[in-house]
Symmetry: C2
Subunit: 492 residues, 2 copies
């Protein structure tokens, strides 16, 4: 605890890994690529879940649960989707272990318990869900179906990083079915908007909404909407996606409905998801060289009270004041921890809570007892102020709101100055290397150019922003005609 972090300037990637582990958010497990989400990290995920779940329900969605396993024959039904995920599938082939006669006390896979058909551990659930919708949908009366699932999924990634890319991760996946194309597209956009609102208002992370190019789309989608955020090191992070799946899955699984006019038609589909990856985005947007910085909305505790005392009697007196303040704050639904542990010194505790990103810290010492004061420190600005005990509730209440807004504003202004308009490939390379961030440039619309740029610079088209203005220009790479700019960046 409280080792100094590697500064971001020195090694951003190392800083990230250290903060995840030292702030007690997560750690690598003995299972390759799978992480353990520790209680403090999981508490942040729970806050996200609660808020997102409320937003999903407010937009008419219900939760359900579908199987972890997808039989191989179902998995391969939608070919593009299958192709997209085939290379990273964990596959269950047997259903029993037995004693290994050659090694007493050890087990081995029982060759007699081979499955007739292999089961894929879901990398995403379109296949198993659309196979189910087939029996749920007969007529337009059964539509729309608006279902979300909170679940674990597995994608056998070769290079993993805590939260950002793990073999198993937690997520939610929405899967909706509609009678018309128009309605499905509206749903796709709506959920992308829900994600944007959640990131901006709740996580204090500004995002750009856009659509993906064909080559960056979800496998099996007709159109992928996304929200893109910018990390402090100038790399972009795809924070959520919402897919218009057209009739691809309905056709693959033969899901038709009788329309009001009596025709049999294929159903229109969407799917959308965000995952524990958001915790990575959270860390890389707001934190500093001292540790995590949490937006008040997401902080497991928003305020920590640390007593500074000598001896039992003083501890007791300060505890009385602290407990009173805690009760007053909790009346306002503010989450407070009073850390009265005797085995750790105040300095140690200060470090711990700075590392863990607790938004506000109240310190109460012997002088404060005499004067009726407390010292308040704010995590993002590292500012300190001494106020009277009577002012505590209103001061905290105000500063939590102020800090939430301030983190967003700071991140947004950082992002704004990291969007660079570029009109030739020399500048493109230079900006990418020196400044990073998003590059707004013309693109000729071909996959060939997209791939060439990626190969030469590692930058990809993050999105075609929804609020783009039509504008004639020449492709930054090929010089061919283009009618709108797109956003390039290196990305996580």
């Amino acid at each position: 605890m409280a080792n100094k972090l590697t500064p971001r300037e020195k090694d951003y990637s190392k800083w990230y890994n250290e903060i995840v582990v030292q702030a007690d958010l997560a750690e690598n497990s003995v299972v390759r690529g799978c992480m353990i989400i520790k209680p403090y990290g999981y508490a942040i995920w729970e806050k996200m879940q609660t808020e997102l779940d409320k937003m999903f329900k407010a937009t008419g969605h219900e939760n359900a649960y579908f199987p972890l396993f997808v039989p191989k024959s179902l998995f391969e039904a939608e070919e593009k989707n299958a192709e997209g995920f085939a290379k990273e599938c964990a596959v269950v082939t047997h259903y029993r272990l037995k004693n290994d006669k050659d090694q007493p006390g050890k087990l081995k896979v029982d060759p007699n318990a081979k499955l007739e058909e292999e089961l894929v551990v879901r990398p995403t659930s379109e296949a198993v869900i659309w196979n189910t919708y087939k029996s749920w949908i007969q007529s337009y009366r059964d539509l729309p179906i608006l279902i979300n699932q909170w679940a674990n999924v597995v994608r056998w990634e070769m290079r993993t990083r805590l939260f950002l890319r793990t073999a198993e991760f937690l997520w939610q996946e929405g899967h909706t079915a509609h009678a018309t194309k128009k309605e499905a597209i509206e749903e796709t956009k709506l959920m992308n908007q829900v994600y944007a609102d959640f990131l901006e208002n709740f996580m204090a992370i500004p995002v750009i909404q856009g659509t993906k190019t064909a080559s960056e789309r979800f496998a099996g989608a007709e159109e992928t909407y996304c929200i893109e955020a910018l990390m402090q090191d100038g790399k972009a992070l795809q924070a959520g996606t919402s897919h218009f799946l057209g009739q691809n899955f309905a056709k693959a699984f033969d899901v038709k409905f009788a329309s009001e006019s009596g025709n049999l038609e294929h159903v229109w589909a969407t799917s959308w998801g965000v995952s524990t990856r958001l915790i990575g985005a959270l860390i890389m947007t707001h934190s500093d060289d001292i540790g995590l910085v949490l937006p008040p909305n997401l902080a497991p505790y928003q305020v920590v009270i640390v007593p500074i005392y000598k001896g039992d009697e003083q501890q007791k007196q300060i505890a009385q004041v602290a407990e009173k303040i805690k009760a007053l704050l909790e009346e306002k639904n503010i989450r407070v921890k009073f850390d009265n542990r005797d085995k750790f010194k105040p300095g140690f505790k200060f470090n711990e809570y700075e590392l863990k990103g607790v938004p506000l810290r109240i310190a109460i010492g012997p002088n404060d007892l005499k004067k009726g004061s407390v010292e308040i420190a704010r995590r993002d600005t590292l500012s300190k102020i001494v106020i009277t005990q009577e002012e505590v509730v209103s001061h905290i209440d105000f500063n939590l709101k102020e800090m939430q807004q301030s983190l967003f504003d700071k991140a947004k202004s950082f992002r704004e100055q990291k969007i660079t308009v570029v009109d030739n490939f020399v500048d493109f390379r230079k900006v990418l290397d020196d400044k990073g961030g998003f590059i707004s440039a013309h693109w000729d619309g071909t996959e060939l150019t997209e791939q060439a740029i990626k190969k030469e610079t590692k930058a990809t088209i993050r999105c075609i922003p929804l609020d783009n203005i039509e504008e004639s220009g020449k492709c930054v790479y090929s010089g061919k005609d283009s009618n709108r700019r797109v956003l390039f960046a290196k990305a996580y």
Copy 2:
């Protein structure tokens, strides 16, 4: 929808399966033994989760998340536990699919992507968690660890039934680590008590708390506490278990701590869990031949309002009254659905909500408009009453509480008259065949007798009740001395 259910008297098992499907709770999936939990069933599970989670946190526990997969070498470390689960493990052996050259468009397991070590899909998480605790625990200062996990687990059951026994199920598993045996045993008992309180106060299901015999214990436990409930067909159902694991896992994974006096000692462990099986218990405790009966605490909506009208004008007038009532009830935090769908007749809706077990139904027709009245029907008693619109809120509020209590009382009185004290094996058989329920009988304490009784009658020892009185007697089977009665029953 609204097909008549098979009566319980005729075929209890069929009745159960029909109610699960027709009340839209769950259905079998294409994956053998895995179920799909539909939105209405999942909403009940969410209510359970919310309440249990609150109770866990109130007793000092935090949530975390550990990997889905357990490497085989970890899995086999605690031998008894491994032996107990080896026969029902789904095993991941490969991490990639590839195109099948012989069958265009099809995929097959890539033989080059065989894992060096097989991964077991967790049937329970002791192994992976205790392997982690090893690095979390050095000194007594790190103890206790009080962690819970909400997760899916897989046990390859050969005979499955929706909710009661499925290959994949959802559950919570608590895993705690303690410095002393005494503290671990207290934790084990506390969590069993939490489960008992939850079932009795929230699910309206009376339970008997007890300990399991050695042969019925969790594999790897020193003592298993349990709560046992009685279903309407006279069979018992184990609704939750809490295990004192002694130092077995600490020894298997070499987890030691420096005590206050500086000695290195093995850590003491507990684990405890309840699962979606509880939904099966819920159904089989309260429901009737018409459909589900939900205790108000668990009902996704506690009140449904059904309008009875002819023509648009009347529908509009009734909707005004309904919306007003709905708003007043929601102010009291009562969950209300107003079903104003025009495409279904009132009779159809009545059937649907009776099948789905909605506690209270408000019907509003043209006569009610004139008289300022409504009709209220209660699901458990099927009673109807006409009251004034002014009385609605207080009437509903009272009846929801009354129904919650009444369901518990009814189930408890049913269970009480199904506990039969028996002193010889002829009566034992007779009671088991004719009356069912729990049999309170003396047992000589040997596994031999326990197994013989099981073989001859299919009855098992459900538990040794915690509130048992010491009493000298003779074993109902062997005639040998016994000092306390135990509870036998056939069980799910």
